[in-house]
Symmetry: C2
Subunit: 696 residues, 2 copies
């Protein structure tokens, strides 16, 4: 690698920033642990949740070790051992980030409740800081890990393979965490609701419900560990895609060698910007819902604005990259913010789409379901257009980027697209913090309820929880958008490293076209499998809760001394989730191998594009329909249309239940599907090129 | 055109067969009209339905004339006047076929009831023959029209443009008939059910319900005229695509000139095979449901088997086409039968998927909805794989077809794919007859109910109706499959006539990729629009029915002399459907024009492929989920899981209502979307090539 002396700061920057991030994580985690953990009851409940979550993680990791070992052996045989090692490192670092984030989240829940006994601001700070531990863990561990690999392997095909392997490792963890966690969380949630709320008529989070702890565990394993692993995958994948494209381009003389460093540098300044934003989160007593939302938004916007001049400085210092690239990065950044905005528009109950769903409850459940599906489908328009504008815009900017004697071209165009993904994810440290904050606040509310804390405490935790619901919806939109952009970046890297020519990747090739149709079908199949899995797992919870109500005397009536067996429900959820995630997992890994091997590397690109297109749209549809149903219910619960207990409310509850697996299992799992298939293709590209397809 | 003398029979065949078909239509129509039309009440009800249906058609045609005139002018200016003329002829012939079919259907309904007063067989024959009038009208008018155009224009670009124009005309009618009819039928159905069954507690088809006539009209305009126009479009489109590809290929010397004639000849022998099958439909008294289904299946299978040697003879007589092409046609034919088989598997209540949905009712509406969506999503796997195998298989057969000194190649491959679509649709005369039979039987049942006929008559019409539900589900699967294959044929013709090279149609072009993503989103947007339209139109019916119950004294209680104002509900449905079909119509026509003009002809191909992929999957999902929900309800009504009136049944009714717009409006409308966008692209291809895209 021939780099000028001026790039030395660039070489040190990621290490310095990664270490700063890790210091933040350690200091913040210690600070959270130093907080009051609440009374004995609160600590007991929190402990049960933590134990359940850790038990799930431990068993998941056991499955994962077998899976990872098998995959690593396959990689070592067919590709090269270095890739296999990087695969393991990628998987390990993702697991590490998830473990840290979830561990702190399950310790912060009771501490948030305890802080909320003092003030709203205290509660918000504990919950948000715990979220920021997850956010910062993901970005600093991800950046440091990738950067050390890069320093170790340098540039060239070996480095591309190594980075792809790391990314694949991260994807594998994401698969299990997101799919398994998604099944876990909704099986417990739906199961608890079906028997608890509907059959037994006891309120949510009531300690009599044997599934209540499993439900709270689910928030952590699904929404903290699952979401974290999903975005770790995107974060890592986007940087890998951009640097891989840059390496190939630089080797061909199409791009400046320093183009390889830029994605890392952008990620590094993004971490700094996110850190600054994080310190801005605070509120005052009597803050309204809008105030709370504003403080989080201010934090995100500050980070997003701060990063712009920072990137400009990087481009200016380098001098060989060219300003069009700066605007491509900006396109990605703005696209992320816009997608979040439209997600909120379609799912917030202050807006017309969600209110329309609530209104449809007047003519019954059926019309409410239809309207929810219609809103979900309609809501796919803005994100798709935004991503298309970002992709086409970035490509054209890169393509026409005449700088340093180079004249742009296709490599430069693909590089710009991949960098747009890096731009979108640059401030992940803070956006992920606002996501991971939600489940902590949700748990805090549950603990307040189960510990029979005073009304005003519950009111504060409710306010925090409600804010979490909004950030959860926008977070999902951001997760989908970044997954798609990352997948496109990875597909570009795949096409480039496998040396496929434009004429080979043609729609006129029926194998490619056929694979594209199969790809378009896969997200539907994947969603069907995950939805059915949730249903099956929920039924087991239902049966267990029914059994406990039947066999434990006085439990249902709340007799003192009658104790629910929480651990049993936790164990059932864990077992089901782990069993149910095998089929979708195998599908996601095997499909690219089968198509790439049988129909050839060009057809495989068709599969990826088809899956990314239909997966993107279906994921947005499911996430937004689910979010909108949820908030339509909350709208009615806020006193509209007859309020809680009315026929309208009952209809809205059904919509919310339908939406649960949509927004928390199947929809988010599609992010993993499209990224994982892309990265599997990138890793095994050399193999497919060698075979060339069995059907010619 | 240089054809040998041996092709003379081929030239005469389509004319002879077309005329035979028309004779069949006339004789059968007269035969139906000669049947007993029942008592005065039955005739009055039938008359009201006929009037309503004709009023809808008349108003629809008024809108259409404006639309068609505008489009014709645009075509005349930008393409050529001959294409504009053919466009009008295509639209007119489609409207003619639809008018004949629906006119007979609305006259056959009371006659079916009257015949059912004699025997089940008599009822079946009247209903099925009326369906065969629709089936034979579509295929004979379609074939004759295309063939006369071909004789008039010969071969070359002018002929391609002319045929494409004809196909576009057929598509325009299909758009209005399928989308408008689909909105009409479900608005009336859902509206009638919501107030009638749910609020007022009166049974289905009760004459007190003011929307009952509109509901029966809807069956005719949606399921007869709409389905007929949809398949007319597929039928015409598949022949046009195959002959257009053949013309371009023949001009380049890649294909035999007689390759142009083959699609017409296959269509002609298919009509004969269908005719023979038609005469086999009969049954005996005390026939079970299975017996009835068997007689229809025997008819379809006989036609499908008869056509195989007929096609073989055509290929053998010609001698320049090559046997691989024979197998490509066969692939299409078998694919159609297989898709119908799997559709039945997923939607029949004797099979596990639908029974699983019914079982999910035990835990309430939400799980029933989730399970139905999951079944719909899962059911997309077989049709997609079947179509992909057919497309890839046909292409490879054509590509490697070495015959008459020619060595196959890409043109031959595309020709084989287009011919597979022709093969699938070759026996449309009889498959469409079984589809169009359904609404007649449904109407006959309604008339029996409204005329208070004896129980055994109603039992017979119920048996006929129930059979119609099964054929409706398989018919929808066939309609989607043939639409996709036709669309792929049209896309091939588009790519070929616009002279796009493989390297231009590359996934590496971000404009093409972006357009593909937009295309993948369009079916979701289109479905959202049509679903919302149904909801809005249904609400107007609900309000009108409520008003009549309120303002017409004694109506709800069934006092003698209290008469519902049926015409008003018919008028409201008509108005809403016509208004609501404008937006989706404009979208379907405008999108290819915008993308082709702005992003260029290669990107447009991406749009088409993206829309076809995701539209295919979504259409199958919606049609099958809707069909399965419908039959899950029927399964419970047949006495399972507590039977009619149980909580499980109530949940199943909700599922059925959600499924209504899925299977009868939004799902089928997607067939039109993908075909129409493809044919618009084919027609305007010369324009897009000239412009070349504004963004480069």
């Amino acid at each position: 690698m021939s780099l000028s002396a001026s790039t030395l700061p660039l070489l040190l920057l990621p290490i310095a920033v990664g270490l700063i991030g890790i210091v933040y994580v350690v200091v913040t985690a210690l600070n959270i642990l130093a907080q009051d953990a609440g009374n004995e009851t609160m600590q007991r409940i929190s402990g049960a949740i933590r134990e359940g979550a850790q038990a799930f993680l431990a068993q998941q990791y056991r499955v994962l070790i077998v899976f990872a070992a098998a995959v690593a052996i396959v990689i070592a045989i067919f590709i090269r051992w270095q890739t296999a090692v990087c695969f393991i490192v990628g998987a390990f670092t993702s697991a590490l980030a998830g473990f840290i984030g979830m561990n702190i989240a399950t310790r912060a829940n009771a501490r948030t409740t305890a802080a909320a006994m003092k003030s709203l601001d205290a509660g918000l700070r504990v919950a948000f800081r715990s979220g920021s531990v997850m956010g910062m863990s993901v970005v600093s561990i991800g950046l440091l890990g990738l950067w050390l690999l890069f320093l170790a392997f340098g540039m060239g095909q070996l480095a591309v393979d190594a980075l792809a392997g790391f990314s694949f490792g991260a994807s594998s963890i994401a698969l299990f965490a997101r799919v398994g966690g998604g099944i876990y969380t909704k099986a417990a949630d739906v199961g608890a609701d079906l028997v608890g709320k509907v059959e037994a008529g006891i309120p949510e989070d009531d300690p009599r419900n044997p599934a209540v702890v499993a439900d709270n565990v689910g928030d952590n394993v699904g929404d903290v560990a699952g979401m974290g692993a999903d975005l770790y995958e995107s974060y890592v994948g986007s940087i890998v895609a951009a640097s891989a494209v840059a390496m190939v381009g630089a080797a061909r003389g199409e791009l400046s060698p320093t183009a390889v460093l830029l994605p890392f540098a952008i990620a590094a300044v993004g971490i700094l910007a996110a850190l600054i934003g994080t310190f801005l989160v605070r509120t005052r007593e009597n803050a309204t819902q809008a105030d709370l939302l504003r403080t989080l938004r201010t934090a995100i916007w500050t980070a997003s604005i701060l990063i712009v001049p920072a990137i400009a400085i990087l481009i200016a210092l380098d001098g060989t990259i060219g300003w069009p690239i700066f605007f491509a990065v900006l396109l990605g950044l703005v696209a992320g913010l816009l997608i979040a905005y439209f997600t909120e528009f379609f799912t917030s109950y202050t807006e017309r789409p969600t209110q329309g769903i609530a209104l449809a409850s007047r003519t019954g459940v059926a019309t409410l379901i239809i309207e929810g599906l219609a809103v979900g489908m309609r809501s796919t328009l803005p994100p798709v257009v935004i991503i298309v504008v970002a992709v086409v815009g970035a490509y054209l900017l890169g393509f026409n980027n005449n700088v340093g004697g180079r004249s742009g071209g296709a490599d430069s165009g693909l590089y710009a697209v991949a960098l747009a993904a890096v731009g979108m994810l640059s401030t992940l440290g803070i956006t992920l913090a606002t996501d991971a904050y939600g489940p902590v606040a949700d748990n805090a509310g549950g603990i307040a309820e189960m510990s029979h804390l005073p009304k005003e405490v519950r009111a504060r935790t409710d306010a925090l929880d409600s804010l979490g619901n909004t950030t959860a919806a926008t977070g999902k939109g951001f997760a989908v958008g970044s997954a798609v952009l990352t997948a496109l970046g990875l597909i570009a890297a795949y096409a480039q490293t496998s040396g496929l020519q434009a004429a080979e990747l043609t729609l006129l090739d029926p194998r490619l076209l056929g694979a594209l149709l199969i790809g378009a079908m896969l997200p539907f199949l994947f969603s069907a499998i995950t939805m059915t899995a949730v249903g099956r797992a929920a039924m087991q919870i239902v049966e267990e809760v029914r059994r406990q109500f039947r066999e434990i005397p006085g439990l249902k009536e709340g007799a003192p001394g009658a104790r629910a067996d929480y651990a049993r429900c936790v164990a059932i959820s864990t077992r089901s989730a782990l069993r149910e995630m095998v089929l979708p997992g195998v599908l996601a890994v095997a499909m690219p191998l089968v198509v790439g091997g049988v129909l050839g590397p060009a057809a495989l690109a068709g599969l990826l594009v088809g899956a990314t297109g239909s997966g993107f749209v279906l994921a947005v549809m499911m996430a937004n329909a689910g979010g909108a149903w949820d908030n339509a219910k909350k709208y009615i619960e806020a006193g509209e249309l007859g309020g809680k207990g009315s026929e309208n409310h009952k209809a809205a509850v059904v919509g919310d239940t339908v939406g649960d697996p949509f927004k928390d299992t199947s929809g988010p799992s599609l992010n993993i599907l499209i990224k994982l298939m892309s990265v599997v293709s990138l890793v095994f590209a050399p193999l497919f090129v060698q075979i060339g397809g069995l059907i010619r």
